[in-house]
């Protein structure tokens, strides 16, 4: 079933009774060539690109709950390529290019909206840093425009330009940045993978990883034993537990990141805006709710909900930047579980166990990375070689000192 204007029209006239489920519900086979543990955005994208780019379809994705029920459905949906460090820059640039062709590729409306992202800065030092970052983005082949205070005021008239404590000096404008509909990304990749023959197996929790003489041989699940030559762990949020089944201890600590959404409002916020004097970012969803978030809660947690000091800090930052949002009622808040690494960058690499691969450590930047992460993890699993744009996301970089500390905040999990 392909989506197009004609099919929508036909279904509309037929009372929308002809739509079919987007993917099958197969039972697991006893053996596959490859297994992907984790049916979130990254796992489904990995399966999709294994099938599409490498022609490998004897694959199953094992998901303990339902597809897209983890962090892919719990984020603030921002898509951008404004990274600075070599290693990150080319990876996120590749990801944004994949985003730009994603809807046509998947034949699925992921509501990718390149509404522009503006990072506000508040001092001469921050302006220098923004100019430097912007130059790095241009050198990578992406887009960046350095705006002065009056230029920002033209685009974002509702910010507080009068306050003395955090004066607005300008902003770094990344026009190709924006948002996408988070669930639809998972559904689109799931449908694409399923159409190419990948088995998507829900309610199938992996309870053990079998290793024989240093080589992975399969997994034990709540739906029986499944053999495979290669297994990919793509379970950000629960990576430490899954990797521990294979005896691995990883450079990951789990933290909560809270996000918030207000009641639906008429269109008032046309871009993604970030505050430079406190971690705060905001956009408006297509339903009208203001979606925003801030820092981690800073302590290890799997609770999927935060504490009130985190809420207070985010609200204060939001009110400082744009007092107009004080009139909106907050509808709900939630917490996502972040795989935090000591340098704030992810891991896409082989593990010390042959045939076992790891895609993890997405910190709080996993959503925008979904297409490139799937692309590069598929490349790694199919060829046993790292993809050129992900070659620095090594598991051993903490031992060797080749860190990718984008924010320069130091080697501790909760500082990023």
């Amino acid at each position: 079933m392909r989506f197009n204007a004609l099919s929508v029209l036909r279904q509309g006239l037929a009372g929308n009774t002809g739509w079919r489920p987007h993917w099958r519900k197969p039972d697991p086979k006893p053996e596959y060539e490859m297994l992907i543990i984790g049916g979130g955005g990254h796992g489904l994208a990995t399966a999709y690109y294994l099938a599409k780019n490498h022609g490998l379809t004897n694959i199953a994705v094992l998901e303990k709950g339902y597809l897209g029920g983890g962090s892919i459905g719990r984020n603030t949906t921002i898509v951008r390529a404004n990274y600075f460090l070599p290693g990150n820059s080319e990876f996120y640039s590749h990801s944004l290019k994949l985003w730009e062709g994603l809807e046509a590729d998947l034949n699925y409306n992921v509501m990718h909206s390149q509404r522009g992202l503006i990072n506000i800065f508040h001092s001469d030092g921050q302006r220098d840093a923004a100019a430097r970052r912007g130059n790095a983005m241009l050198a990578q082949g992406d887009d960046a425009i350095l705006l002065g205070r009056e230029e920002v005021r033209e685009i974002l008239p509702y910010l507080d330009y009068d306050q003395a404590r955090f004066p607005i000096y300008g902003g770094l404008y990344h026009k190709r940045g924006g948002t996408a509909r988070h669930d639809a990304v998972a559904w689109g990749y799931a449908r694409g993978a399923d159409q190419r023959g990948v088995d998507l197996i829900e309610n199938c929790e992996v309870t053990g990883i079998s290793v024989d003489a240093g080589r992975v041989t399969g997994v034990t699940t709540t739906r029986g034993q499944i053999k495979a030559r290669k297994v990919g762990i793509v379970t950000a949020g629960r990576t430490s537990q899954v990797a521990a089944m294979a005896g691995l201890r990883l450079p990951i600590e789990s933290h909560i990141l809270q996000a918030f959404v207000t009641e639906g409002l008429k269109p008032c916020l046309d871009h993604v805006v970030t505050f430079g004097m406190g971690h705060f970012y905001i956009s408006q969803s297509d339903k009208g709710g203001l979606v925003f978030g801030g820092d981690l809660d800073f302590y290890a947690s799997y609770a999927a909900r935060g504490n009130l000091p985190g809420v207070e800090q985010v609200m204060e930052a939001g009110m400082t930047l744009m007092p107009m949002i004080g009139r909106a009622k907050m509808l709900r808040s939630w917490g996502g579980i972040m795989d935090m690494t000591p340098d704030g960058s992810p891991i896409i690499d082989r593990t010390p166990i042959d045939g076992l691969y790891l895609d993890a450590g997405w910190c709080y930047g996993g959503f925008k990375a979904v297409p490139a992460s799937g692309w590069c993890m598929a490349h790694l699993m199919a060829t046993d070689q790292p993809h050129p744009v992900a070659r620095r996301f090594r598991l051993d970089r903490f031992a060797t000192g080749d860190l990718l500390d984008e924010e320069g905040t130091g080697s501790q999990h909760n500082l990023h």
Binding site: S240, Q241, L250, E253, S254, A303, S411, H413
Partner: protein, 84 residues
């Protein structure tokens, strides 16, 4: 969430700064390079009961807190001398 300071009793979360897992109390030998890599970067990261280190800013006490990372229940707090 409130945490127990051995000197001040139960205090608001905002009075504490988080350091990380209490595994860090046990340092490897000075010449053990892979031990230091593990000590600085790798974490057991349990989903459930854990022990971690917090600094109580007002009184300057390091506290080893036993708590649950899934339910956010806080069980007990000890000085580092007791925790070691």
């Amino acid at each position: 969430m409130r945490l127990p300071c051995p000197c001040c009793g139960w205090r608001d979360l905002r009075e504490f700064t988080y350091k990380g897992a209490a595994d860090m109390l046990h340092r490897p030998a000075l010449d053990d390079a892979s031990g230091w890599d593990d000590h600085l970067h790798n974490r057991t990261n349990p989903a459930g009961e854990t022990r971690d280190l917090w600094y109580h800013d007002p009184c300057g006490t390091w506290v080893c807190v036993t708590r649950d990372t899934v339910s956010h229940a806080v069980i007990s707090g000890a000085t580092l001398g007791e925790a070691r």
